[in-house]
Amino acid sequence: MNKTFLIFKHEFLSTIKRVGFIILTFALLVLALLGIGIFHITSGIAKPSAEITKIGYVDETGSFSQSTTEGNIIFVHFDNSNAATQALVKKDITEFFVIPQDYISKGLIERYTMQKEVTPPAATTNAVKNFVTSNLLAGRISETVIKRIEAPLNLVTITLTLTGAVASKQGGLINLIIPGIFSFLLAFSLSFSSAYVLQGLGEEKESRLMEILLSSVSTRQLIVGKVLGIGAAGLVQVVIWVISIRFLLNLASSSIGGIISMIKIPANFWVFGVVYFILGYSLFAVLSVSVAAITSTVREAQGFAGLFMLFSIAPFWFYSLLMLFPNNPIWIIFSIFPFSAPVLVMLRLGMTGVPAWQLIASMAAIILSIVGGLLLAAKLLRTYILMYGKRPTLREIIRNLKRE
């Protein structure tokens, strides 16, 4: 069997068996399923009861006698507060309210209840509001208009393109959530995958296994097998996320509905997600190899791994600014800067349309950096992979690179 493939297989299997990898891969799926489950349980508990609720009222104005049924709530008339209080104590009614004589001029209604509450329940408030509105307008305008006054607005926003056509992506802020979550996960996956490369090589160097490996395989076979093996595991992780998110969206949309059903993520977003993972990972992995070559211990190498995390996470520090001005020139520059491009472009793709030239420029910049990184890594590996002890200074590295 090809030795590169053997190393690939070993690294792939070792990575997917890591506890951290398994948790990161399935945490989103498990948490989201848990969230949907909890929603259903709590909404089942909080669902309005089919039982009829009786709310008493005392009308001192003498003009509130219409629309005494609002859904499951029946408004029961009492002549005075004492009679209503008696009924409340006997639990014939759940609560009562008093419409005073000067209600029209002051708008004040007193509510009496035996429940301890921070605010009145929304269902009760709505029912009382509709009862009052219906009675105030009864006989003056039609029933249909009264119903419209009670629920006057169902706002649907349609985004147009610069040509006036309906944009393919609709939905506003809610549509930022999924790309945001995906980009965050992408940043983690990039950081963790490149850290695994760094840690793997660091451990092999620190435990002095490197020389045994190099007596069986070439440096190229070792690095290619390792980088591709860990990268493939990272890719599996990203693909699982893409499938999970799409599955969860469908599940949440059909079972929860509401605002979630408005989330529409175009298919090309996911394609770009996979492409930017491959490019971003390749760049960070190549840099990890260079770092592992010049450092002697895993601890020392991990210090450098923090830099990758920094580049990946940095776009989130400016998330609110990014949301407000997604096409600001500064973001365009950082979308082409190879280290920040993968995560930043994915974030911007979720917020706005990223022009094709920016996508091409960012991918080209990353690919060029990968090629440059590969040349650097190859030279550093040849010189430093079997050097233990003191880390070479930048000056020594430059001198040796020139000599190579």
Binding site: S207, E211, S215, S216, R403
Partner: protein
């Protein structure tokens, strides 16, 4: 066919020349000692032989050809700086590293169990490497080095850190390999191990060969012009052919003046009626030769 042919190799780093115009041969079916002080260039030479680093110039043939991926499978290498995957089990470590030498998994597993049994390590088959002692780890590394039945085995400081029991175990395994027709290169500081095991040696210092050839011949070349004598009777003030007498607790060392051979001295002593309990031509140990040669270069 020679197992190793090294011709005029040179390797220099930024600040020093590590190996300078070094040439030697290692034939099959021999234990070859590669010795020298720290920093002499032994490990650099081995790494060039293993194609881990490239020489600046010169030529290296291993098993009759330039080292390739296929010929790497015929080599076993136990480096001085060595380790294994700490989190893997003993059997998984051996199988993975054997597979990188071209063995299929089933064969590797069978052979690993056979060698674990032979070295008394079978009970540790499923232990993680990090649970083993240092000596046990070295035995596992030795198993990894020879599991694929290599034609050439290179052992760099194979005995360092081993207890006497494991040292004897390893020596036995090395002699077995030689008896099976393998070529073995033993790089070490421990001269007693070289004297005990090696057929030929190469001593290098500052990247140069300073001694090379059959161990017995080298020692013979370095024999001093003196004999050790343990006797009964009166030796007398003057023994013809003896320039100086050095008295020790249990014997006298006679320094010869060059006019007589040790055999002639023995005959003269017998003829003089002296009872001789011990008569021995003084041959220096390899350690003494090492100190003499390397010490001279470092004066």
């Amino acid at each position: 066919m020679n197992a190793v042919e090294v011709k005029n190799i040179v390797k220099s780093y930024t600040d020093k020349v590590a190996v300078n115009d070094l040439s030697f041969l290692v034939s099959g079916n021999e234990i070859f000692g590669l010795i020298g002080p720290n920093g002499a260039g032994k490990t650099t030479t081995i790494r060039m032989m293993m194609d881990i680093i490239k020489p600046d110039s010169g030529k290296i043939n291993i098993l009759g050809e330039k080292l390739s991926e296929a010929s790497k499978n015929k080599l076993g290498y136990l480096p001085e700086e060595r380790g294994l995957y700490k989190k893997l089990t003993v059997i998984d470590s051996i199988i993975y590293l054997a597979s990188l030498k071209g063995m299929d998994r089933r064969m590797a597993k069978e052979r690993a169990e056979e060698l674990l049994k032979k070295t008394g390590m079978l009970a540790n088959r499923d232990k993680k490497i990090e649970e083993l002692s240092r000596g046990m780890g070295q035995i596992i590394q030795f198993i990894v080095t020879i599991i694929h039945d290599p034609q050439l085995v290179i052992l760099d400081e194979a005995f360092s850190g081993l207890d006497p029991v494991n040292t004897e175990l390893l020596k036995g395994l090395i002699v077995d390999l030689r008896n099976q027709g393998k070529a073995i290169i033993l790089s070490t500081h421990q001269m007693n191990q070289v004297e005990e095991l090696c057929d030929r040696i190469l001593m290098i210092d500052n990247g140069h060969a300073v001694l090379y050839g059959n161990l017995k011949e080298i020692k013979s070349n370095y024999k001093s012009n003196s004999v050790i004598l343990d006797f009964e009777g009166e030796l007398g003030q003057q023994v013809p052919g003896v320039a100086e007498k050095r008295v020790s607790k249990d014997y006298i060392e006679l320094i010869l003046d060059g006019s007589a051979t040790p055999k002639q001295i023995l005959e003269r002593l017998v003829n003089a009626g002296i009872t001789i309990n011990r008569f021995e031509v003084v041959i220096p140990s390899l350690n003494e030769i090492f100190l003499k040669v390397v010490g001279k270069n470092h004066e």
